[in-house]
């Protein structure tokens, strides 16, 4: 529908000329690229100027050469975001076909839409322009100028893309006396050319493409080359920008947010009336936030950073991550427990300790655990030299109980905000034993090869959280389909005969799945042989694309420990002819063991699979690939039985 609208409002034909920067870019020779390269960035430029009042004007220029038709939609549409604090001063785009008959489009041809995929309301919007003739062989380019008064004085140049970049340039013109710090991420450092008038310029050439879409790859921003810049007035609190100063800024922004009201105090009093210990009180309050406060994001202007007040969140019973964190913090304060905002990016690896920028998209809480709180079962903790034991808690993830944090936040950096400023803290990777899946099953094999099963799965930690999200996002009547879909991965043919879920809505208890099924013809008969796969259920999925080299590290979402224990009662009259050999793997990344035994007429299969880390570097992928090949082989291994009596 939007495409139709765009076509409908595009301007009448007229003759145009392209600006010199685009013409120059268009005349470059381009090297040969792999045949699947959609387009190449001929030239990309950002010119940022900051005046003495902190107003920022940014000129963006980009020139692409379209190489393949697939690029038409991706690179033929210019999208420029803005909000109530950002003005688009000018916007133009050109297309240069080989004939040289240039197209030009501008603000009059732009369509405006809102952007708030996750928010009920946000003032974020975007201008969209459809660039004519974004066809193979043509050069397209655009230029726009934005003006803003940013809340945070930082910029990021994301020069590395999914297509190659021939030339890229970034310049920063600061007001007299202003300073800046630059940080190179995932790319060799390049020194700027500097003028004596406060201008810094970086130029790069031949930046390789970073392809998308490999399984288990880290977040794109965690691997792409980028330049982060903080700038500031000298002799200010931000001189230089540090994690501490960023924390101070946020502390100042939120200093009044957590004020309580009589209603909040009354609620806390009611919630904790029967709680005898501090831990019980903390539990009652965190449970309240998880169960009673609904995630609804409403962000206007500074509202992208600044939470609504605790009072508003409490009255509405809804808010976004920072709102819910604010209310929780205010409520904990009522029982004498201190807590701190933690700003974090939900993509692990994006926030880096040596790059003090607010590249964050999420807020959680660090609860300063009083000495009387036993912390043996509270895993998401760190011992901070200044703040003592901190327990991290995500108010938005109602399926992640007190003591845990969601997997994406583990082994990730968060900025703990205190009145004294910020401190970057590495959140723990929870040990495998805290993230468990225990699957047990009793199977009975009929003489004709049909398998009947009684299965139980018990989960806690990350596996429980994942499954709760899946199940609770579905309507209750559709949950059985999720189990059926799971079984269909392993069984050609089955009938689910029973399915029960225990503790589905009680996130601090083990999630229990009980299901029975019948799988006709599970065992294959070949003459006197009966062939059966003992690993009836479960797949430890990490497949490496055998047709493409792996270019990224592997990132596991969490460290986990899964165990399977299956007993298969065989029909009478069969004896083992061959059983799968035991498997034992142990290295820095994975522990895996499996064993198949015949005890009486019961085939017993048990295995244990432990992921010990969240990250495996490219240099170690050969070992990891061998590990998972052996695991995959084990999962497919067959037991062969032969008939010994008629």
């Amino acid at each position: 529908m939007f495409a139709i609208a765009l076509a409908g409002i595009t301007a009448a034909a007229r003759s145009h000329s392209a600006p010199p920067w685009l013409t120059t870019a268009a005349h470059q020779q381009i090297p040969s690229y792999p045949s699947d390269t959609m387009a190449v960035v001929l030239f990309e430029q950002q010119q940022i100027s900051v005046d003495a009042n902190g107003h920022v004007e940014t000129l963006h220029r980009v020139a692409y050469k379209i190489l393949r038709p697939e690029a038409h939609d991706t690179y033929g549409t210019l999208i420029v975001p803005f909000d109530s604090e950002t003005k688009i001063k000018s916007i133009n785009a050109w297309s240069i076909p080989p004939s040289g008959d240039i197209y030009e489009v501008g603000a009059k041809e732009a369509m405006e839409t809102g952007i708030s995929p996750d928010a009920l309301y946000s003032d974020d919007r975007q201008k969209i322009i459809s660039i004519p003739a974004a066809d193979p062989g043509n050069v397209i380019g655009y230029e726009y100028v934005q003006e803003e008064r940013p809340y945070i004085r930082e910029e990021e140049w994301r020069f590395q893309q999914t297509i190659p970049v021939l030339k890229a340039s970034f310049s920063l013109q600061l007001a007299s006396g202003w300073k800046m710090d630059s940080y190179w991420v995932n790319y060799p450092e390049s020194k700027p050319q500097m003028s004596d008038r406060g201008n810094y310029q970086w130029d790069l050439a031949n930046i390789p493409a970073l392809p998308h879409g490999q399984d288990f790859m880290p977040a794109f921003d965690a691997v792409r080359g980028r330049l982060a810049i903080e700038y500031y007035q000298p002799v200010s609190a931000d001189d230089p920008v540090t994690w501490q100063s960023l924390g101070s800024w946020y502390a100042d922004l939120t200093k009044t947010s957590r004020q309580t009201t009589p209603e909040i105090q009354q609620e806390v009093a009611q919630l904790t009336a029967n709680a005898h210990t501090t831990f019980d009180k903390i539990t009652a309050i965190t449970n309240f936030v998880h169960s009673q406060i609904r995630y609804v994001a409403i962000e206007i202007g500074i509202g992208g950073f600044q939470p609504h007040s605790a009072d508003v969140v409490f009255k509405n019973r809804y808010g976004d991550c920072k709102d819910m964190t604010t209310l929780l913090s205010a409520m904990l304060e009522q029982i004498g427990v201190k807590s701190y905002y933690v700003l974090i990016d939900a993509d692990r690896g994006v926030v880096m300790p040596n790059v003090p920028t607010l590249h964050v998209d999420h807020a959680i809480l660090a609860i300063q655990l009083p000495a009387d709180v036993p912390h043996g079962n509270l895993y998401a903790t760190v011992d901070d030299p200044k703040l003592g034991k901190l327990l991290f808690f995500d108010s938005t993830d109602s399926h992640c109980p007190l003591g845990y944090i969601p997997a994406s936040l583990q082994d990730n950096y968060g900025l703990v905000v205190t009145a004294a400023g910020g401190e970057l803290v590495k959140l723990p990777l929870l040990p495998p034993t805290t993230n468990r899946l225990m699957r047990t099953a009793q199977f009975t094999l009929s003489p004709s090869g049909d398998l009947s099963a009684e299965t139980q799965e018990v989960r806690w930690g990350a596996p429980a959280e994942d499954l709760r999200w899946t199940l609770l996002s579905a309507a209750p009547k559709d949950r059985v389909k999720i189990i059926e879909s799971f079984l269909s991965t392993f069984l050609t043919n089955f009938q689910l005969t029973k399915a029960q879920l225990g503790n589905l809505n009680v996130s601090d208890k083990n999630l229990i799945e009980v299901y029975d099924f019948v799988a006709p013809n599970y065992a294959k008969q070949a003459g006197d042989l009966l062939i059966i796969r003992p690993c009836v259920l479960g797949e430890k999925e990490l497949t490496f694309d055998s047709e493409k080299p792996r270019e990224y590290p592997v990132e596991f979402s969490a460290s986990t420990l899964d165990t399977d224990q299956f007993s298969i009662t065989l029909p009478p009259g069969f004896a083992p002819e061959q059983l799968p050999a035991p498997v034992n793997i142990s290295d820095a990344f994975v522990n895996y063991s499996s064993e198949t035994r015949l005890v009486g007429n019961v085939l017993q299969y048990k295995r244990s699979y432990e992921v010990k880390t969240s990250f495996v570097a490219v240099k170690d992928l050969g070992q990891l690939k061998r590990d998972f090949q052996a695991i995959s082989d084990d999962e497919r291994s067959l037991a062969v039985l032969h008939r010994v009596s008629p």
Partner: protein, 665 residues
Amino acid sequence: MGCAMASSQRVLSAVLLCFAICLLMLLPPATRAGDEWLPINPADLALKDNPASPGSNAMILYREESVDDSRHSQSEYFRIKIFTDAGKKSADVEIPYSKGMESVTAVRARTILPSGSIVDFSGKIYDKVVVKAGGLKIYEKTFSLPDVQPGCIIEYKYQEPFDPGSYFAVMQWDVQQDLYLRDGKFTFVPLADPQQTEYQYFAWRTLFLPPAAHPERQTNGSFILSVHDIPALADEPYSVPRDMLRSRVEFYYTQQSKESPDQFWKRTGKDWGKKLDSFVNKKGALETDLAATVHPNDSPETKLREIYLRVQKIRNLSFETSKTAEENKREKIAVNSNVQDVLRHGYGTWQDMNALYVGLARAAGFDATLIYVAPRDRTLFLPNYEDPGELQVNVVDVKLGPQDVYLDPGSPQYPYGLVPWYENAVRGVRASKDGGEIVAIPGDDDSRAQILRHTNLHLTPAGSLAGTLTVDFVGQDGAVWRSSDRNDDETGRRKDLHDEIKSWLPSNATFTITKFSDWDDNSKPIHVEGTLTIPSDNTRILGRIILPLSFIQSQIARSFTSAQRVNDVYFHYPYQEEDDTSIELPTGYKVETFPKVTTLSKGAIQYSIGASEQANAVHLTRKFVVNGMDFPVKYYPTVRAIFDMVKTGDADDMVLEVSTTAQHN
């Protein structure tokens, strides 16, 4: 909300109208909304689940929608019961509207807690930009109800007055939505005198309403519909499009008085016939072109085929990458007024191509015309509703002797004799200056869509397989690929077909395309050849190797894993899959056991898989035929069981015996 058009002949642009109609389909339309609320039934507060559809996240207890074209008012009232946390999303309300043409006012909302206590909504209502372009301003009023928990009831109401002097050109009651509706009341007051509009008459129609539900016309001319227990729409794989399931009522003003369906389609078909005749009435141009296209001694069928090829050589604008208006203007693309324009310009739309074909066929002495049909991937032809808008595409109907031949030269991916799947097995209206006629275009049988696979592999002593795989996408299967990738280049097409073929194979298989041909010749199958390797699957056991009968994993069969289903199973077209596989065995290997041949013939579905030993090789054959499209949901257990049998047959193994000598090699 929706499409309020001014009676002062102000006409929405095509884009705006299209957008507004889309909104109409998306939006809840609406009665007066004051501060009064309907009484709460304690039994509703106590409800723990939807008794009529257990396991729901939420249900609409009551909905009232009222539109009055005379008073330029509409209002909406929703009362929703929340059962689960996931159901709480119903408390986030978004009301789209067209700024400048209508407004959203008198918004009231409240939450009734399970205890019966009431929390009135007193928060802010936000005004969010959805899209602004060329005078079009679509916004949303958004708000979220407070204190929403499972067990509570939420309700909200609002008014949406529209521009005085405006009316709904098309008004729709969206009776069925994503939530179960227990009780609903819909009211529409049309203009008392449609002649004060640019239209003359008023009409309405019902679509997929339950049998007991009928809009009642009141003495004052208004319509009232009361409905009960409307199930939620269900999204399931292999279903007909939602718009062909969704209960709704449409009201519209029209230029024409009410005629009988026969009269209506006769007149409409006559109009179309006249327009067609006018478009092709360029005898000289057609005869000149025909002379260069066919030889007088050609057989009638050859002539028709040559004309088809001729028409498809003309640039077809409808299937090119979308262009901006500026590109079209720059290229001086003009509208063709007749076949002479098409021939002179050397381009045209799909409509132009089909009309040109009719013209050339007539010039060659054939009886030819167009049949207008409702494409069944989008809509349905319901003749009694007298809506020409349903007949969105057309097909050429040409007499070849006693036979009707149906053609669509305007679809460049389709060869002579094959029309797109969504244009067959449908009814339509034949255009004729003598009056339209409702006719049926027959559907394809399974031979018109085939995937043919030939595999030649050799088994290594280590148990891996390597060789070649050839795939031909025949008929509809080839045309569908040619359509979806029509604007891609060969690199993209190769990648997409590679990914498709790879998805059929075991996850550890490697497939590399070595030859890719006949894409541009729509009369031939798309032909793909490649090398295939399948690593050893650890299937060596005690002097034996176990191999599956089929390496192909049926994608469709995996879609029927659920025992429950709401909608009919609907395939786009009948089809066949045929596999012919040879596996050369190493020396010292021979077949110990083959599974018994599986054959299955259940109504429209046939399946067979088998194996035989030939010298030092095994030969595997598999055929799967679905010669039907629509399988009513009452037969779903049978359909599912059949697909289970197919999966079981595919998963059967053969056992190869390895001689002692070979084991030690």
